[in-house]
Symmetry: C3
Subunit: 145 residues, 3 copies
């Protein structure tokens, strides 16, 4: 287990842009504000969805492409954290969306999701930097000491 203690630096409440890429929008915001460690919470709606699923056996991400035709969707919840990857602020976000019947789809947020409406909160933390590097066991870019 790796744990760091932080204090709260600042909070941002943000309205995203119509037609923006969801992941890029949040990620670019954190880069622009130089948020090195933080937490993200978002709700809203998207025009399509692209979810990642990590196969724990083959150790590879697959993208669920076919869901895109079931949209548009509500963003029921999108959340995760900000840390550093290759020295730059990097958002790791998971998302749950729902369709017109209330059915939910979830996974790792991939690029290529078009915003319809987006409201997100960023908590930015003060403390030690957390950097991602290859984790041998999982083959994921996890936090390294």
């Amino acid at each position: 287990m790796l744990s760091n203690k932080y204090s709260l630096k600042e909070v941002f409440v943000v309205k995203g842009d119509y037609n923006a890429d969801l992941l890029e929008q949040i990620n670019n915001f954190c880069i622009e504000k130089n948020i090195k460690t933080g937490m993200i919470n978002a709700i809203g709606a998207v025009q399509n969805i692209r979810l990642g699923y990590f196969d724990q056996n083959t150790k590879q991400y697959s993208t669920l492409e076919d869901l895109s035709e079931k949209g548009p969707f509500e963003i029921v919840h999108c959340g995760g954290n900000v840390s550093l990857k290759d020295g730059k602020p990097f958002c790791h976000l998971h998302i749950v969306v729902s369709d017109r019947e209330g059915k939910c789809f979830g996974g790792h947020l991939m690029p290529g999701v078009k915003v319809f409406a987006l409201e997100f909160v960023v908590h930015s933390f003060d403390g030690a930097e957390l950097e991602r590097g290859l984790d041998e066991t999982t083959q994921l870019p996890l936090w390294v000491e």
Copy 2:
């Protein structure tokens, strides 16, 4: 993109009332405490559910009424933000609930959902007021400058 910076003012941890209306309960709490900008996180259980879905083509909300018979449900996650609408604290909340088979349903939280058990955390922020107004593109009451 519209973004404001805040500091954390106070945090409330709240136990909701059995049989209360879920949205009203959280919304009234924010009005009573005069929370103008904030973040909500809730878990618990509800006796029924009423989910909204915004049709991005017709620009109208529909309410998924038929789900109510599938309950009762766990509140797996209910979250969103507090800002101002018509000058008053207003909670915009999305919710995911699950039924006895673990199946999830999600969407925009509508009035008419009866609490069984409710535990929520409100983060209240200090900074510029965020007011909702009609957004031309989406026809949603989004934050305006």
Copy 3:
């Protein structure tokens, strides 16, 4: 309604251990750090799932065992609160996971869920202690005055 006001004491950003028990990992962290009141947000992936569903009529928890064979899963969101039960820090967590088709399953997080990868944020609050005790109406261990 029971509500307490808090200030933010500290924030922890934590990487959980491969193969650890998800609930135990988060719960033990809070015990070790003596976090009496707080909020949890987690994402990651698990090797299996065990979800609880509270039957509001019989007033009993059932565990959805059969879902375990559908994994492994992404942790789309796991969140909840920390308070005291029997005088010790106790995490009440709900979780949504998704399978390789993006399908979501959710409920009350039970023991017996094996971590594949885990990233969680703990907000620890300063203020009055919140203790759980039997709630007559729901027969759940809710916060008591």
